[in-house]
């Protein structure tokens, strides 16, 4: 895939997202609250995502990005608030619920069972079985080989526990698991944290490709440039709240950086504060 072609697909996808904007958003999280023993990890957050759109979630450590996404993926229950998928209120109380709505997650920790192989991890909880209900390891391995060939052609170790794979290969398995089951909504929590430059480029290509296919993506990353390159809109979180959600065209990385650090919208930041950040 060349850079030009991926850039074009990205543009068309943005156009598609603009058209879809008349319809209810693919995901809408309204007034979500999560607290852990008095600490408001997520405090009255409202956020939305359209089909074919990438929404970047940025913020410092403990800003609540991962917790917010864990609510959507069913890993952490929300104390209050509402989740709507295509305008319809839904209840997501465990990871299985999320998956039935086509929400797939690449966790920062990867959430792989280290002692079993790539195919077993890819199909974990959704194993292919024969007619009598026995595991069809052959079919699962074949499907895994197929998808891994697409995502990471160097991946060869299909028979070993994922513990003995490199960080990049483990990440590939986690990504493969998220994209294999026809996700409509993809949550990527630090998808490139464990990766080298070449693999990071692969993941970026993948994000653009999935976006072009009309999948809505929440992208969490520490790397502001990563997020800025890939996202259509960026939501900045600070101490459990969303400071602002901005369209990329209308904000600079400096604006976003300022929001991450100060927890204030750009126009609220004084020039002295700004100078301090940039120094």
């Amino acid at each position: 895939m060349t850079i030009e072609s991926s850039a074009t697909t990205a543009t068309t996808a943005t156009a598609a997202a603009a058209i879809a904007a008349d319809q209810p958003p693919l995901v809408e999280m309204r007034d979500i609250r999560v607290s852990f023993g008095g600490v408001h990890a997520v405090d009255h957050v409202t956020i939305d995502l359209h089909a074919g759109e990438v929404v970047g979630l940025v913020g410092g450590n403990g800003a609540g990005k991962s917790t917010l996404m864990r609510v959507l993926s069913g890993a952490t229950p929300a104390d209050s608030g509402q989740i709507l998928i295509e305008g319809k209120p839904v209840t997501i109380s465990n990871p299985r619920d999320a998956k039935t709505y086509g929400i797939e997650t690449i966790y920062q920790t990867l959430a792989l069972a280290d002692n079993i192989d790539a195919a077993a991890n890819l199909f974990l909880g959704r194993e292919l079985t024969s007619r009598l209900g026995s595991l069809d390891d052959g079919a699962m391995e074949a499907a895994t080989r197929k998808i891994m060939f697409r995502l990471n052609p160097n991946f060869k170790n299909f028979k070993v526990p994922v513990k003995s794979l490199s960080g990049g290969q483990r990440q590939s398995v986690a990504i493969a698991r998220a994209v294999h089951f026809n996700a409509r909504i993809l949550i990527m929590d630090e998808p490139t944290a464990a990766l080298g430059p070449a693999e990071t480029a692969q993941v970026r290509d993948l994000v653009r490709q999935l976006k072009a296919e009309g999948i809505g993506i929440f992208l969490i990353s520490h790397d502001i440039h990563d997020v800025y390159d890939l996202s259509d809109r960026i939501s900045v979180m600070y101490h459990g709240r969303v400071v602002d959600t901005v369209t990329k065209d209308k904000s600079s990385t400096d604006d976003i950086l300022a929001m991450i650090i100060m927890g204030k919208k750009p126009h609220e930041v004084t020039s002295e504060e700004m100078a301090q950040i940039l120094a």
């Binding site: 895939m1 993926s73 890993a75 465990n94 990871p95 299985r96 998956k99 997650t105 966790y107 920790t109 990867l110 959430a111 792989l112 069972a113 280290d114 002692n115 079993i116 077993a120 991890n121 974990l124 909880g125 959704r126 194993e127 079985t129 209900g133 026995s134 595991l135 052959g138 079919a139 391995e141 074949a142 697409r150 995502l151 990471n152 052609p153 160097n154 991946f155 060869k156 170790n157 028979k159 526990p161 003995s164 794979l165 490199s166 960080g167 990049g168 290969q169 990766l195 080298g196 070449a198 693999e199 480029a201 692969q202 290509d205 993948l206």
Partner: protein, 431 residues
Amino acid sequence: MTQASPGDGLTAERPRRSIRSLLQSTEVDTRLLGMILALAIIWVGFNIMSGGLFLTSRNLWNLSVQSSSIAIMATGMVLIIVSRNIDLSVGSLLGFLGYTMAMVQVVWFPTNPLTWLIALVVGVFLGAIIGGFQGFIIAYGKVPAFIVTLGGFLVWRGLLFEYALGQTLAPMDPTFQLLGGGPTGSLGESYSWIVGILACLGIIYSLISGRRRRRGYGFPLRPRWAEVTIGVLGCGAALGAVWVANNYFWPVELAKSYAQTHNIVEPPGGLQIPTGIAFPVLIVLVVGLVMSFIATRRRFGRYVFAIGGNPEAAELGGINTRRTIVSTYVLMGILCSISAAISTARLNAGVTSLGVQNELDVIAAAVIGGTSFSGGIGTVPGAILGAVVMQSLRSGMVLLRVDSPVQDIVVGCVLVAAVGLDTFLRRGNKR
């Protein structure tokens, strides 16, 4: 996206020493192979030290029967330890269930012709319920498994004494007694051969169908010589075991009375009736096959291993981890009841001391068989082999007239050494 990423090149297959790569191409479980080798060394060692008493049909036949109760429970303990739990109650539970089955036959339904069946059904159900109860407290109540089963360890043994004030209950129903093995509780010559031949057919079928399946998906195949070697060794082992069992003959007195009741003229030197595979051993084989199938070919087994590998990942993968944990304990309870039936039938009595310290033997068997206490690793055949290793050590030392306390010391040292060696080797493999 076809660009090669440098990170992957580092973990690509490095050239290894030829023996290891040869072994790898056969895809044989090297750990299991190592255990079989260790067992062979133990057997040959005891045979030399005892002046040829160990490797006799008689001793090996007894060894197989004596291992069976622990082996059956060890197959369940594997799943429990793999899922990062423990069951300390199996010895007491075995005693309790065995005593209950004895109660059915001696006190509650002594005259019913189907009393053996009632005893078994009651035992299996009670085992499943008690196991499930403990599992429920562990999985849903979030009480540590160690504590719950430690409580069970005390409670079930205590209940057993409450039942009949600790009296010994005997005798068992004649049909029930067959479960315990012994000359009459065995398959006899021709059925044993049939079992052996069926085992061979099963081995050959699984090799061929496995190869066909791999070819169908275009996966790399095992080298042909490896398939043939595995087939020949497997069939050889199966038929060899049958041959050994068939070379253990009925005791002289029993054979004499059998000859008299069946009007057979005894040949010079007495009637030689091959015993064949004992029923408890047959049960071990069936349980081993079923448990292996559950552990490796069913979703449930996959989930148990996933939970052991990473409980959070299993949960995030949408697995109902609590129900899975409860199921492991239900299985364990059922296996305890099977072992309890065998032990009670073998003793031909319900006694209060049945199964004392068995929990330790079962856990030791699973661990010697390669089950890792940190979870996620273990095999059913390994656990059965572990039980045989333990019993081999004990009965070998009995042959050598080693005192019981010294036996315990040796077994204890072997347990620690085996796990230590295993940990050491595993760490070496990682590098």
